[in-house]
Symmetry: C2
DNA sequence: GAAACTATTTGACCGTTGGTCAAAATAAAG
DNA sequence: CTTTATTTTGACCAACGGTCAAATAGTTTC
């Protein structure tokens, strides 16, 4: 919750603009080549500054990549919050979050590539504390949105509250979402599972978990196709691009 | 399905023994330090050979790590096949697989660390083709065991077969399992979700998905605590170590 | 048992890359 | 214009993955 910012000087604004330039190019390189297949020299060339200047913004290559990840994560949190404004049943609102996940995966395809590295302890050691906290903050925003919906679902009696806590339910949905995204990128599994549209698989698995949680109305008790049409129309008009597997 | 092997000479046996020695130490280093924080020189020192000798076994550091991962994956496939021999309802047998997952996570804790890297394209490029195929083979073994149980469940009418294919159901279970393992290692999420025992969370989420798939008998329709006791007794006597969160 | 030959092991060496810092360039102040 | 403060630069360093000619160990021949 940022208060009144001290007026940024021209220098500060230039610094900020350059940081975003760096992040943009780093993001592109991450997407095109992954983490290893480019170096700081190449990035410096791309942004038309020298290597030393890069290190005025970031303490290490890992710190830089974490900043890219956090910028993406902020977009996800923004999408989540936008999604949560949808008017409807709690399970319908959860469904909008599912759409947000897919929109995010399409908008920030480099994120899942980076997310892998975020699990490695050595990665975090090399990142600065400020960036670590920024990442945690955006992560918490995403968690909070989904958790709120589930708390509300329980309060309204749309989800049973006797078998598990709201946090357990949130965790289940987060897990299945991340796992589905990861697995649907695995070429071998895609063939074995006969996956044609990764996004469809992710949302299918989310539905399974929601049903498993007893989140009313269950999949076959409601016309979710109608809900989906409303979601596309009201919240994610661009979703048609990824909603149906390209023919 | 290995046929009659040509008799290995003494040299071949020594070569094999050394390879296992290398893998053992590499596995330990991976667990203790991750991927980055050790180098081939250190590994060479640990196994008391020189760096050049390591490169007679593996084409690159990545190739070596992939070999470690595949060795672990073989253990998982072994556990899965052992688990699938359990006599009982299909959902009970799926539950044994869930135990196998946890047993594996405890036995091969370095695997999830490595699995992250396996998603990176640049990683696979540096590994040899033979190791790639070996890894795919062990992965397919794991998939097949679970898939067979689900096919059988549908054939017996213990799982509905109208809403999805056996492969979709298998994919959902695989996704939630991997996702849960990953997420339950995230320190921030552990706090937010209030996770005390990662293994318990994984199995809980698997239960949710099984229920969501309509896999009879559902969680509340059957005394799965009794099943669990049988599983521990008959298949995983060591499971008590991780089954309950340590006090 | 020595010599000749083969197979294996070794570690000095190379190229690349993340990261540093003194010097150069630029901007600001006097 | 001169001096001072700030920013940018790229040569440089150390670390690491990977290579290969030389050394060592092992085997065969006479």
């Amino acid at each position: 919750m940022p208060g009144i910012q001290p007026t940024p000087t021209r220098k500060e604004r230039e610094f900020q603009a350059r940081e975003e330039l760096i992040l943009t190019h780093a993001r592109r390189l991450l997407l095109e080549k992954g983490f290893q297949a480019w170096n700081m020299e190449q990035l410096a060339e791309a942004v038309e500054y020298s290597k030393g200047t890069l290190y005025q913004h970031f303490t290490s290559k890992e710190d830089l990549v974490l900043a890219v990840a956090t910028a993406s994560l902020r977009q996800r949190a923004d999408l989540f919050e936008k999604a949560s404004n949808f008017k409807g049943l709690t399970r319908e609102r959860c469904r909008v979050i599912g759409f947000a996940c897919c929109e995010f995966a399409v908008t920030c395809p480099e994120y899942f590539h980076v997310e892998m590295m975020l699990k490695s302890a050595s990665f975090w050691e090399k990142a600065s504390d400020a960036r670590r906290q920024a990442h945690a903050f955006q992560g918490a925003r995403c968690w909070r949105v989904l958790n709120h919906i589930i708390v509300e679902a329980m309060a309204l009696g749309e989800m049973p509250r006797t078998h598990f806590t709201p946090e357990q339910a949130t965790f289940a949905l987060v897990s299945v979402t991340v796992g589905s995204h990861l697995m649907s990128q695995e070429p071998q599994l895609k063939v074995q599972a006969g996956i044609t549209s990764p996004m469809l698989s992710v949302r299918f698995n989310q539905d399974i978990v929601c049903d498993g949680l007893g989140w009313k109305p269950l999949l076959h008790e409601h016309d979710y196709a109608a809900t989906d049409r409303r979601i596309v129309k009201e919240v994610f008009p661009n979703a048609t691009a990824w909603l149906y597997p390209d023919t």
